[in-house]
Structure formats: C-alpha cells, structure tokens
Amino acid sequence: MARGKFIERVLFFLALSSISSLALITFFIFLEGLPLILHTGLTDFIASSHWAPTKGHFGILAMIVSSILVTLGAIVLGVPLGLSCAIVLAEFSPERLKRILKPTLELLAGIPSVVYGFLGVIWLVPLIRDYLGGPGLSLLAGSLILGIMILPTVISISIDALTAVPDTYREGSIALGATQWQTVRRVILPAASSGIITAIILGMGRAIGETMATIMVAGNALKLPASILDPVRTLTSNIALELGYAAGRHREALFATGIVLFVIIMVLNFSATLLTRRK
C-alpha cells in the first residue's frame, strides 16, 4: 500500500513537471515578447507590414496573412484527400486493406519535416518554377508540402470520427433502401461532422505550426503575396530564420511573433475542443 502511494507520488510529480513546462514556456514567451508589443503598440505590430527589426520597424501583418494563406492552402489541398482516404478506409475497404494502409499512413506522420522540405526544394520548387513561373519557392509550394504533411492528422482523426458513428445508423439507412454511398453521404458524414471538423482544425494547427518545411520551400520574402506563385514568410519561419542572431528589441519582436502564433494556435485548439465537446 505504501509502495502504491509512493508510485502515485512519482507519477504525480512527473505529470506535474510536464504541465509546468507548458506553463513555464507560456510565461517566458509572454515575458520576453510583451514589452515589444507594449513598446510599438499592438496595431503597429499586427497591422503593419514593415518588418526591419534592426532599423526599428516591427510590423508582422504580411506574416500573419501568409501564415493564414499557407494554412488555408494546405487545408484546401489536404482535406479533400485526407477525408476521402478516411472514408474509404472506414467505410469501403476490407479489413485486410485497412490493416496495411493505416500503418502506412501513420508512417507518413513519422517522416521528419526537413525531409518534406528537402523533397520540396529538390522536386516541387523546380517544377513550379519551370511550368508555372515565378521563383518556385512560393505560397503554392508551401501549401502543397503542408497539405501532404497534415494528411496523417486529418485521416486518423476522421477515421476515428467515422468509426465512432454507431452501426445502427448504417443498418437503419441500408434497411431503408439507401445505397452504401448514400448512407455515407447522408447519414455517416453528417453524424461524424463535428469530429471531422475537429480533424480539420487540428490539421490547421499542424500546418500553421510547421517551420522547417515552410522555411525551405516558401521563399521567406517579407511582402504581402499578390499571387500563389509569390514567396511568403510565415510567423514560424520568421522566428526560426532570425532567432540565431537577434538581440535586444529584435529578439523581443521574435518572441512577440511567438505570442501571436500562440494565440492563433490556442484559438484553434480551443475551438476544436469546443466542437468535440458539443458532440
């Protein structure tokens, strides 16, 4: 009994340390970044596109817009693929195929992002440059790579949502004379919709937080993009690109970029939680 208590304590301590690291990270991001936001003013920080931190300009609007655009692009490309894959795996494929395909898809999640980025630079970027124009390193390249990277997230959560729909729904629908496709479209998908939306939101969180691959393929230019072939810099890229050298206000500005990113991801995760709870 005493031993059980001891183990309980150890577990509690370990759990606490992992949670406290989250609290510590939050605390330090705000501690380091807030002074700059107070210094430049929130509107000058998030509503200006003039970023020249060594000359005292700290506008990150272009990066916020770019982050959102790259993420939307990834969703537009990744969600139809991921969702159809999830539907096939959950509803239409025999058990054997599922047993092969699902681990393969999970393997996709295990590939380091630098590998995606490298493949993007070597293959995708020259293709875009040669066939579509522009420098190749672009919003489109970033969206394509991220669209593939969010697939495992979208697929596995969607599959969970689809399989969570009770079999009685399927049986009822088939009994009423609906085909299997009609069942999926009219019964299963609406029933699983909140789970699927959660999958999409978590996919967005994955895309907006991705750094290495976007640095490598998106071009990192500071301008607001005018077309999908223009290079863009995301919030995460900005931090990772410049943190190596930054000092003083510049460093604070990068932490402040982190605050904006933190808020965006919190909003995404919070809405995902709300949606799953509503179910």
Binding site: G4, V10, L14, G133, G134, P135, L137, L222, R233, Y245
Partner: protein, 285 residues
C-alpha cells in the same frame, strides 16, 4: 486469483520502472544544472572564449582546432551570437575576444580591433546568364526593388528572382553597408538563411540574383564583376573590388597572455594560409 497476482506483479514491475525513470530524470536535471553553472570545470585552465559573428565562426573554429592541436594545454571556446552580441560581450568582459564581420561603430571605438582577414561579397547569377558585370548603382537599384526585370539591365525581359539573407546575418549587414547605403532591401526579395542556400537556389534558377561570400563561389554559379572589377583574390586583397568586408578580432585592451598568443597564431603565416585555404583573403603578406 492467479490472474490477479500476475497483474499486481506487472503493476509492481511497471512501478519499479517508473521510479527508476523518475530517478533518471532527477539525475539528468541535476547534471544539467551542474553543467550549466560550471562550464569546463574539468579543465585546469579557464578556456579562452571567442564569441561573435557567425560569418567568422566557422573560420575561428578551424583556427581554434589547429591552435589547440599545437597547444594542448590551452582550451578555446568558439561561440556564435552575431558581431554585435560578441562586441557587447567583449566590452563587458563576458568573453576574451569578439569576432566581428563588420566595422566598429563610434560607440565601440574604445575597443582594440585586429583585422585578421578580408572577405569579398560576390554577386552571383546562374551560369547561363549572359550578364558579366554590373554597376554598383544598378545593384543598389535591383536590391531596393526599383529594377525587378532583367530588361532593366539590358537583357531579354524576364522577371528577376532576387535572393537576400535574413535580417541579422553578417553577410547581409555587410551588403547593406557596402551597397545599399540608406536604402532598404526590398521586401519582395526571397530570404535564405545561409550562403549555401542562396548558392543552391541561384545554381538552379536561371533568373536568380543573389550574393554570397566570395570564398564560397563555385562552378555552379557565376560571380559578376562590379563596376568592371571581378571578385578575384588580388582584387579583394588590394580592395579595388568594392564589396569587401574585414573580419576582425576585437578585444577590450591590447590582448595579453593566451589571447595574444592566439592572435599571433592567427596572424602568423600558418594561420593566414589556413584562412586562405578556407576561401578568405589574408591581411598579412
């Protein structure tokens, strides 16, 4: 009954595992704290710390490596952080020598500077690009965003893919100082975070224009002459080539003891030829 006792044995085993893991975590934490507080306690002499420019860092590391082979009793610790951070650290006594890839500004003039090498900045294009030379004003106009098409430089009209380095990079700082004057580099330029990445893109993109350290130019890219003067070793050394920066070591006072010994080594024939072999241009004959 049997089942239950086996479960409890499993639980005990996993409990033991967990407490071992907890212990390991504790040790790790302790070691981290210990290591963080007292760097290099194991060595007898305190290390000579060189911090600063990330442009100089790879060269300083090479020099330190050779120097330590010859003087095993001395430990050199080469760190990055950027020119400004290094100079700040040395003026506050946080390191022995700062490596700088920019000139000292007025507020830093009280420090002692020791030039150790020259580095040219080469403006590079794809080998298929017919352009051979560029005027400095045109280069400035290109990077300020006033010329965005190769037509502006007398070539067939194609959009230009401009590549620059990230804010804070020593190479970018030197380029801004030597080329841009008061103007800012256009936000439309692509940004890459290393000389190698810039070279890689220019090597693959016939419309690209970028700048890298002259020592890193290879056959896959073409370095342009600026105002008719090519970035050759001789032209960099006598500084007729315009885009040249100095690499400096900076100290609070005239270096003495181990710091002086290291500086002497850097400026010796061996040290200088080491830098030359790495693609820089020496300052001593």
């Amino acid at each position: 009954m049997l089942r239950r006792s086996r479960d409890s044995a499993n639980l005990m085993a996993s409990g033991r595992l967990l407490s071992v893991m907890g212990l390991l975590w504790g040790c790790l934490f302790f070691l981290a704290v210990l290591g963080g507080c007292q760097p290099g306690k194991s060595s007898l002499n305190p290390p000579l710390v060189i911090a600063g420019s990330t442009s100089v860092q790879p060269f300083a590391e090479k020099l330190a490596e050779i120097y330590m082979q010859r003087n095993p009793q001395v430990r050199l610790d080469v760190q990055g952080g950027g020119s400004s951070a290094g100079i700040y650290a040395v003026s506050h006594g946080a390191c022995d020598l700062a490596a700088a890839s920019r000139e000292l500004v007025a507020a830093e003039r009280h420090l002692v500077e020791i030039p150790i090498a020259l580095d040219g900045i080469a403006v590079i294009v794809h080998p298929s690009n017919p352009l051979r030379s560029m005027r400095l004003e045109d280069l400035r106009a290109v990077f300020a965003g006033r010329i965005t098409n190769w037509k502006g430089l007398g070539l067939p009209p194609r959009p230009m893919d401009l590549i620059t380095r990230e804010e804070g990079s020593g190479t970018r700082e030197a380029f801004e100082h030597l080329v841009m004057g008061q103007e800012e580099i256009t936000p439309a330029a692509l940004v890459q975070d290393s000389n190698g990445a810039v070279r890689e893109i220019v090597a693959g993109d016939p419309q690209a224009l970028g700048y890298i350290s002259a020592g890193l130019v290879d056959h896959r890219v073409k370095a342009l002459a600026i105002d008719g003067i090519a970035p050759t070793r001789a032209n960099i050394k006598n500084r007729t080539y315009r885009l040249v920066r100095r690499f400096l070591l900076v100290a609070r006072a005239a270096p003495a003891g181990p710091a002086k010994d290291f500086v002497d080594f850097v400026l010796s024939v061996q040290g200088q030829s080491l830098l030359e072999a790495e693609g820089l241009v020496g300052v001593v004959e």
